[in-house]
Symmetry: C2
Subunit: 180 residues, 2 copies
């Protein structure tokens, strides 16, 4: 049991995981909570591929573009995709170039926070070759993989990244006018 | 005090608000929690313009493209923007066409959930003319308004939209392979 603001403050990016297994029930709960996110016109264009097998992780690892490939050794990787046809049919270009990424990101954030509330650790990965991820998981062309979430129990004790002062990001009425 | 999974399940889009004022402290808390979201390389490219004055709401209302303009009469509108220069400098095209929208959406979702935990109601609006919003709030060209969040106390008692069965969105190892 963790209060929502505490989960938001506690969530951080963990890159090394212990060998402890994540239960299938916990994964299912996270997916159900992901799907509670809002989406444009309730399109629910998010799709999730849950990866638990070593061979699949190995294939995903090859699609991962920047260093720290050890991250892909997490107990679970959830590949989050957007059905571009579904959102495009509903909202055209704005749907495909904006809502698709917002809606799936809101679903991801739900998962990260719920995981924090369950004592699980996560990291949101974005730097991958999308076509290579498609090939690795037999994802159809109309479906775009937009994030990979690594999931497990923390295998490192790291601090959360620092945040900038709110005054640099928040304004009142007019852009640039300090928030009070 | 609300548990994180309960906040995720309870959050819904509310379009009519009561006249009750939202305290400045509550708004500040929501902005601080928004900024606890993850972002690519911790770029924190989110920017927030908090709108509480009637005249500013009126200008925003003109930028809102679809019906239900009464929504813009909410006690507070938080216009969420992405600093495209900041994310572009860090990640180039992928940053500007993907991470900018994901990072700001994660910040928005934090706000929506934290608001639910505080007994506040919200709605995420996406259908607006971005240049008109820029003009209304003197937002510079390098800053892109990507969402408007209406905030207040609920003035209607509506049900949350239905969700599709998880089986339509979740797969194991390979796209299309049922999640178990």
């Amino acid at each position: 049991m963790m209060e929502v603001s505490e989960a938001i403050r506690n969530r951080k990016s963990v890159r090394r995981f212990s060998d402890a297994k994540v239960s299938d029930a916990a994964i299912k709960e996270l997916l159900e909570l992901a799907a509670q996110a809002p989406s444009a016109g309730n399109t629910q264009e998010w799709r999730f591929v849950v990866v638990r097998e070593r061979e699949t992780k190995q294939r995903l690892s090859e699609a991962y573009m920047i260093g720290r490939k050890y991250q892909l050794e997490a107990p679970v990787i959830i590949v989050v995709c957007a059905d571009m046809e579904a959102i495009g049919d509903a909202y055209g270009e704005r749907g495909k170039s904006l809502y698709a990424f917002q809606d799936t990101a809101a679903a991801v954030e739900n998962m990260l926070l719920a995981a924090a509330g369950m004592g699980l650790a996560t990291c949101w990965l974005g730097a991958f070759n999308e076509q290579a991820v498609r090939n690795a998981l037999a994802i159809p062309e109309r479906i775009r993989p937009v994030a990979m979430i690594t999931l497990g129990y923390a295998g490192e004790n790291i601090a959360k990244n620092m945040r900038k002062p709110l005054a640099e990001a928040a304004f009142s009425e007019i852009y640039g006018n300090p928030f009070k």
